[in-house]
Subunit: 323 residues, 2 copies
C-alpha cells in the first residue's frame, strides 16, 4: 500500500469520479473559532466517498476476471458504490444484505443495477452465502475497507485535499476524517504524507463506538463493544482494519469523538451554511471541528463530509436542532 | 452588453467565486425521461448565484469610487451577495430592507458585514432613502439584474456550463434557468451563444408569476399582476429588465412554468438524489425538467439550481412530499 497506488487510482478515476469542491462559510468559521474547510463527499456519485474505492477496485481487476462480476457484503454506502461502479463497467454485481435492511437501501442498490441477495442475520452466514455465490459464478469479493485498491481509491480524496489546500495557501492544519474501518482515513493520510506533509489526519467517531481513537491511544487494535444503537451507523465497524490500522497509527493524531446530538447539529449547520445534505456518520468530522475546538490546533481545519445518504425523518430531526 | 464583458468578469471572479460542479443522478434521469444535469449555484458563496454578479460589479468599479462603498435594495440573495463581495473588497455596503423582512435575513446580511437600513414599506420610499444615503456618503448603487456588469457576472455561470457540457459530450440541449428579472438568464444565454450554440436557454418561473414567459410569447415586456403570495419569492420581480429582456427575447426558447407543489417536490428530489439544499425559487428549473418533460426536447437537459437560502420549516415542507 503506497502513494503510487493512490496516484494510479487517481488516473483510473479521472472522468469517472467527481472532484468534489472545498467549501467554507464565515458562519462556520465563527462557530469553530478558526477557518473551516469542508470536503463534501456527499456530492460524490452515489452520495458518498465509497464510489471512489469501488471504482478503483473494479478498474484494477483483470478484465477477464472482472467480467464474471463482483460481490460485496453491505447494506449501505459501499453497496451503492460497488453497484454503480459495476454497472458503469458493464459487469454484474451481487450485493449480500440482511433481509431486515431498510427498504429504501435495497431499492436504491437494485436501481444502481445490482442483484440483491437477502439473508437472515440469525440463521444464515453472509460469508457462507458469499463464498458459495463466488464459487458458482466466479465473482470477485470487493471488501469495504481492508483492501489496498479500495484504500487507493479513497486516497484520491486526499490528493484533492492536498491540491485544494495549497490553492488556499493552507500549509498546516488538522484534517478530520469520519472514520469507520479506516479506508478513507488511511488513504487520505498516505496522500497527505506525500503531497501536503503539514496536514495531519485526525479521526472522528461517534461516542461509544470509538474503536479507532482507543486503538490509536493503545497502539493495538481495539474492538467496539457494540455495533448498533447509534444514528452514525454508516461509519460503525467492529474494529480498524489490519491494513488500515498500521497506516493510521503511523500518521494520525489523536482521535476525536462526538455525541449523536453534536452530529445532528453539524448536519443542521451544513444544511444552513453550506447547502449540503449530510448523514449523521458523515457529519462527525464537522461536528468535531465545530464543537470540540479545544482539541484541535491551528488557524485552519479541514473536514470531510463522508456521505449524505439520510432519509427525511432523520434529516428533519437534525433540522429541529436549529434554534 | 456582450460576451467580452462576460469573459472579463470571469477573469475578475477567478479565485473568488466558486466554479460549481455539474451534478447528475440516474434516479433523476429516470423521472425526467432523459439525462438531467444540474448546476448547483446553491453551493456558490452566500448560497446563490448572486455573488457572481455582485463580485463582478464591485470589481469593475473604479477603486476611488468603490472605496466610498456600495448600496443595494434587497431583502434576499442579492443583498447577501453584495454584502460579502463588499466585505471581501474591504469597502462598506449599505443594504436597504423593508423593516418586516425575516429576522434571519437581516442577521445574515449584517453578519456578512453590511450596514442594514430598515424602512417602512407603507410610509417610506426605498428609492428616496437610497438616493439620500448615496448622496451623503458617495455610495454606488448595485442593481440586482438590469446592470451590465451584474449580467456579466451571472454569465460566468454560462461559461462554466458550456465547458462542463462539452466535457460530457453534450452538444444539443435545453438549459433551463430559474428566472426573476433575467440577470442570470440573459448572462447564461449570451455565454452559450458564444461558447455552446447548440445549447438553448429556457426560463422557468412559478405559476401565476410568469411575466417572462408571457413577455417571451408577446414579444414585449409584460408585468406580474401580483408580487407576493408564492413560496418562490426569491425569483419574483415586477417584470423583466430593459437590458435583460431583449437578450432573452433574441436567444431563449418558450418559457416554462411550474406549480409550488412541483417546486417543493423538486427540492425533495435534489435532497434525496443530489444531496444539495435548494430554495423553492431555486428549484423551479429542476421542477420543469422533472415534471414538464413533454415541453422539453432532446436527450439531455441542463438546469440551474439558483439558490439554497431556505429556512428549516420550508425545507421540511418539501421533504414531506417524499412518499
Amino acid at each position: 500500500m503506497n502513494i503510487e497506488m493512490i496516484r494510479a487510482a487517481a488516473g483510473r478515476l479521472e472522468g469517472h469520479a467527481r472532484r468534489t469542491p472545498l467549501l467554507s462559510s464565515p458562519f462556520l468559521d465563527e462557530i469553530a473559532g478558526r477557518r473551516v474547510w469542508v470536503k463534501p463527499e456527499c456530492l460524490q456519485h452515489t452520495g458518498s466517498f465509497k464510489f471512489r474505492g469501488a471504482w478503483s477496485a473494479l478498474s484494477a481487476l483483470d478484465p477477464e476476471v472482472r467480467k464474471s462480476g463482483v460481490i460485496a457484503f453491505s447494506s449501505g454506502n459501499h453497496a451503492q458504490g460497488v453497484a454503480l461502479a459495476a454497472k458503469l463497467h458493464g459487469v454484474p454485481a451481487v450485493i449480500v444484505m440482511p433481509e431486515d435492511s431498510p427498504k429504501l437501501k435495497i431499492e436504491n442498490t437494485r436501481a444502481y443495477g445490482a442483484e440483491v441477495v437477502l439473508y437472515d442475520r440469525d440463521s444464515e452466514s453472509r460469508e457462507e452465502i458469499g463464498a458459495r455465490l463466488s464459487e458458482e459464478r466466479g465473482l470477485t469479493l470487493i471488501k469495504p475497507f481492508d483492501e489496498p485498491q479500495v484504500i487507493a481509491g479513497q486516497g484520491t480524496c486526499g490528493l484533492e485535499i492536498a491540491a485544494q489546500a495549497a490553492e488556499q495557501g493552507i500549509e498546516k492544519a488538522d484534517v478530520i476524517v469520519c472514520c469507520g474501518g479506516g479506508g478513507l482515513t488511511s488513504g487520505i493520510a498516505l496522500a497527505l504524507e506525500a503531497d501536503a506533509p503539514g496536514l495531519r489526519v485526525r479521526t472522528a467517531e461517534p461516542e461509544g463506538f470509538d474503536d479507532v481513537a482507543r486503538s490509536l491511544r493503545s497502539g493495538g487494535i481495539e474492538r467496539n463493544n457494540q455495533l448498533s444503537g447509534n444514528i452514525c451507523d454508516a461509519i460503525i465497524t467492529p474494529q480498524p482494519g489490519d491494513i488500515t490500522f498500521p497506516i493510521m497509527h503511523r500518521l494520525c493524531g489523536p482521535g476525536l469523538v462526538v455525541t449523536e446530538d453534536e452530529a445532528l447539529r453539524a448536519m443542521a449547520q451544513a444544511f444552513n451554511r453550506l447547502k449540503i445534505v449530510s448523514e449523521p456518520g458523515g457529519a462527525v468530522a464537522l461536528a468535531a471541528a465545530l464543537f470540540r475546538k479545544d482539541e484541535i490546533e491551528g488557524d485552519d481545519v479541514i473536514v470531510t463530509i463522508s456521505g449524505g445518504n439520510v432519509d427525511a425523518p432523520m434529516f428533519i430531526r437534525a433540522l429541529e436542532t436549529l434554534e
